[in-house]
Amino acid sequence: MPRPGFVVLSILAGFAVLALFLRKAEGWILATVVAAIVVGVAVPASRQATRQGLAMLQGYPRAATAACVIGAILLPIFLQNDGYWIHVLSIAMIFAIMAIGLNVHLGEIGLVNLGYAGLFAVGAYASTLLSQAGAPFWLATLFAMAVCWTTGGLLGVCSIRTSGDYFALVTLGFGLIVQQLIINLTWLTQGNNGITNIPAVTALGHSSKMPIDLGFIRLVPETNFFYLCLIALSGSLLLARHYQKVWIGRMWTALRQDAIGVSCFGLDVPRFKILTVAFGSMFAGLAGSLFAHEIGFISPDDFTLLHSVEVLASVILGGIGNLFGVTVGAIILSVAPEKLRFLGDYRLLMYGAMLVVLLIYRPLGLLPDPRRRFESF
């Protein structure tokens, strides 16, 4: 068998196994699998194996990408139309979009943002308010992205003077301020009660509440948002990858390494930084709009500091700077709590323990960006 065919088949098999794992693994099987993964991560040899496996996939990037896209499109069928898991994976993809956005801040120019959930909230509320006023989904999403872009620009203005842990605190404060304002500005946001009845997305007479009828198979209504999120995620990945490849990406690397040096070569650093932070924040608008319409209900509890940390954790665990790793990290971290549900009250405890163990054994993430092995942070 030719190698590309092997790559495609193994990726598709991976998606099928993933679907099987999500739906069927419970109790002891799940515990064994999780234990095996933890032990595997702790063993140094696995790092080498991961790198080799990835190198093989990277040898045929087009085949691998195509297989990933096909696998993701077929995933609802692999999941046997299980609405619950399709929904969980949609949310996971929304988190992945946020992680891609945060990666622009953290990975590309090294700004620690502890308030990304605040931007997410701004996007979600902006989109919801416009949508309730009767605007179509695409317009609400664009509006949310524009609002987040502007808000991010304002944060970017703060980043000019403050850097490192100081910027982290500014963003932490920003996240808390946004949450407090949502709670207190009840005339606009309904406060702690949250906004209900966010209208469904409709396009060409098809509503997101209706099942997709393909003739031979009838996909559950959750599939609508699954595909919508898939499109948004693919778009985000393409955009972020494109920015990494063109001169902007080179400037990001240069800026991260030596801000004074790059300014000597004529880059307007403050302007560039503001635009970069704004660009990274735009993804929060997209994610927020998708999230609000997918759940149909938003409240301040969805945008806590915990959520900011979750996004940050997915960027770091996935591998800072590596878009593929960041996406995988976000999906793992948002699916894991669902799979850990059998732990009941100990779920968050295990989540924290998992985070600490992974960080201690894999400080550079599960799939580190190979370009960065030669960089100091």
Binding site: Q180, L359, P363
Partner: protein
């Protein structure tokens, strides 16, 4: 005028608690370069250890022990000592398990790791402490009487909290400025490599610092518990956020800056809650608004070193 003074007293009591947390965060950052976001949770551990000792010694008796008796005094001292000791030990353990292996990794990894540790502490208390899901009453060992000085009502607990903090601050200033340990610590703050090459054991100093800083956090937690007479598993989050804010306003790595920052945070909270109509809902907004303004004007905090890097 009386109202202003009254708010000032309340603000100072808050500031005292924040200052003790801020000092730990500030010094840890100075020495290991990591922002410890589990610092408030370490305080929670100390508070709950103390509560456990109280509950064991009083074994379900009345939790109101303002009447003086030898047994009560011993119980109180034992409980407070247990709280400080457990906080110190858990701080050291935390450094050894979570931060020490990450000393070569980028600082953001350590920050995230401390978030994970905070998770573990909060959830452990929720799940393993008896009735940990609900807020628990903390015994009130300070008499609830009031003193009125020129129209300002001062409670004994105000005096206790502010007094303790002042005494501790002086002890700490002495420790940092005059003792061998303080000199070693300042040398590491100043230049880690040079300190190491001159024979300062960074590991020992850091462990000692974590013991001291965590005990201070435990003290802050206890003061918070005595002030409100109510403890719960997530009380640490608030302490961390406010302590971190105070430390940053003053300039990370500087204990006097942390003190100044804590006083400012307490004042801003009290002023917003007291003088702006409907302001108590917006007091955090005010604190962080001021914080952002200060950081834009002085990027390294009020008392931080001015950096040459300005882009």
């Amino acid at each position: 005028m009386d109202l202003i003074l009254q708010h000032l007293v309340n603000a100072l009591a808050l500031s005292a608690v924040y200052a003790l947390v801020a000092i730990g965060i500030s010094l840890f950052f100075g020495v290991i370069g990591i922002v410890n976001l589990a610092h408030g949770d370490i305080a929670t551990v100390g508070v709950f250890a103390s509560l456990a000792v109280f509950q064991f010694l009083l074994s379900g008796g009345a939790m109101d022990i303002t009447t003086l008796s030898a047994g009560m005094v011993i119980a109180t001292l034992a409980a407070l000592a247990a709280g400080l000791a457990v906080a110190a030990i858990s701080g050291v353990l935390f450094y050894r398990v979570a931060f020490y292996p990450l000393r070569a990794a980028p600082p953001i990894i350590g920050l995230l790791c401390s978030v994970g540790v905070g998770f573990i502490i909060r959830e452990s208390i929720l799940n393993f402490y008896p009735n940990g899901r609900n807020p628990q009453p903390f015994p009130s060992i300070i008499p609830p009487e009031l003193i009125e000085v020129g129209g300002v009502i001062i409670q004994y607990k105000h005096i206790f909290v502010i007094g303790t903090a002042v005494v501790v601050m002086f002890a700490l200033a002495y420790c940092v400025e005059r003792t061998r340990f303080g000199r070693a610590m300042r040398s590491i703050l100043n230049n880690r490599e040079v300190a190491q090459s001159l024979g300062v054991s960074t590991f020992k100093v850091t462990v000692a610092l974590f013991a001291m800083g965590s005990a201070l956090a435990g003290l802050a937690g206890l003061m918070n518990a005595l002030y409100y007479n109510l403890v719960q598993s997530d009380m640490g989050t608030l302490l961390t956020v406010k302590g971190f804010t105070a430390a940053v306003i003053g300039g990370l790595g500087n204990i006097y800056g942390a003190l100044l920052g804590a006083v400012l945070v307490g004042l801003i909270e009290a002023v917003t809650a007291g003088f702006i109509p409907d302001g108590s809902a917006y007091k955090d907004v005010a604190v962080f608004g001021v914080l952002i303004a200060i950081l834009i004007a002085r990027p390294n905090g009020l008392m931080g070193r001015l950096s040459a890097e300005r882009v």
